[in-house]
Symmetry: C2
Subunit: 173 residues, 2 copies
């Protein structure tokens, strides 16, 4: 059931009356949080038939994109911006389901690699098809809006030091 | 440590090569998820000295904005887009800390109201000042970018039926 009013617009009015200098930042951050809640709920529904969450989907997708199908655990955490404990937890579940295997790195046996299995590859392609079919829960949002959103969020990510801002920007015009 | 490249730009390239029709939606959704992770980490750090998470802060802030300082539990969940079990959990913690009290509604004693206490009011004003001082973890992002982000995310929220799109839009130009 949709609300009868926009709760963020309401909070924005409250801020404008009290702390006008901070109203725009409050509204933007609250909007990110709220949209994330909406999207993650819908995406988890799409992924449920595949036994995946968005976090485990992302780990599998990342492994499937690599040449060798494997990555050190630490690299997975860095790339997905996830704490080491969460990577362990995610890879544990994927391993129990037979979607990845762990092995010690040949050069340094203390380093553990996660490897995607053939079942994992099959699953991630099916899950990707399902997410694509649902337009990643953004159905009804046009491409131009999606591109504009990515570009704006990239600005926020640059300020937050998510990645080296000198890196090639495929959306730069 | 920032990554040496933008992992979303990298995923976008992979999508363009395989599923170009869905690349923009994937990038936008992944960007929302990643920015939410960045922001929630920073916001929780700002709120920690006050014993609050963003969820409990939002509940307190909402109560403090009402005329009477109280709302039915169900309304809090609707407004904050949170499951009833999470509202119960959040209000439990706030009640133990002395920041809210619960009481049965006079007209229908099965309905429970949460009421902010004087300590709760004091705390929420301090926490709000801290969040404002940190620009809600968006420091370095200018106002125009914040406003554009809110407006774009509002489009996504309308499509997702977050609220009645006929409602007054303070950002409409």
């Amino acid at each position: 059931m949709p609300l009868e009013f926009d709760p963020i617009a309401e909070a924005h009015r409250q801020w404008l009356a009290r702390w006008p200098e901070h109203a725009e930042h409050m509204a933007a951050v609250t909007s990110v949080m709220r949209v994330q809640q909406m999207l993650i709920g819908e995406i988890d529904r799409v992924l449920k038939p595949y036994g995946l969450t968005f976090a485990s989907y992302e780990a599998l997708r990342l492994l499937a994109f690599t040449r060798s199908g494997e990555l050190p655990m630490g690299k997975i955490g860095e790339r997905l911006m996830v704490h080491p404990a969460s990577v362990t937890n995610t890879v544990d579940k994927l391993e129990r389901a037979g979607m990845v295997r762990r092995r010690p790195a040949a050069e340094d046996r203390r380093r553990v690699l996660a490897t995607i299995t053939p079942d994992g590859r099959e699953l991630v392609e099916k899950a990707t098809a399902a997410l694509n079919a649902a337009d990643f829960a953004l159905d009804g949002v046009d491409k131009a809006t999606a591109m504009a959103l990515t570009a704006l969020l990239r600005k926020v990510r640059e300020r937050g030091n998510d990645f080296d801002a000198g890196a090639h920007d495929p959306w730069a015009s």
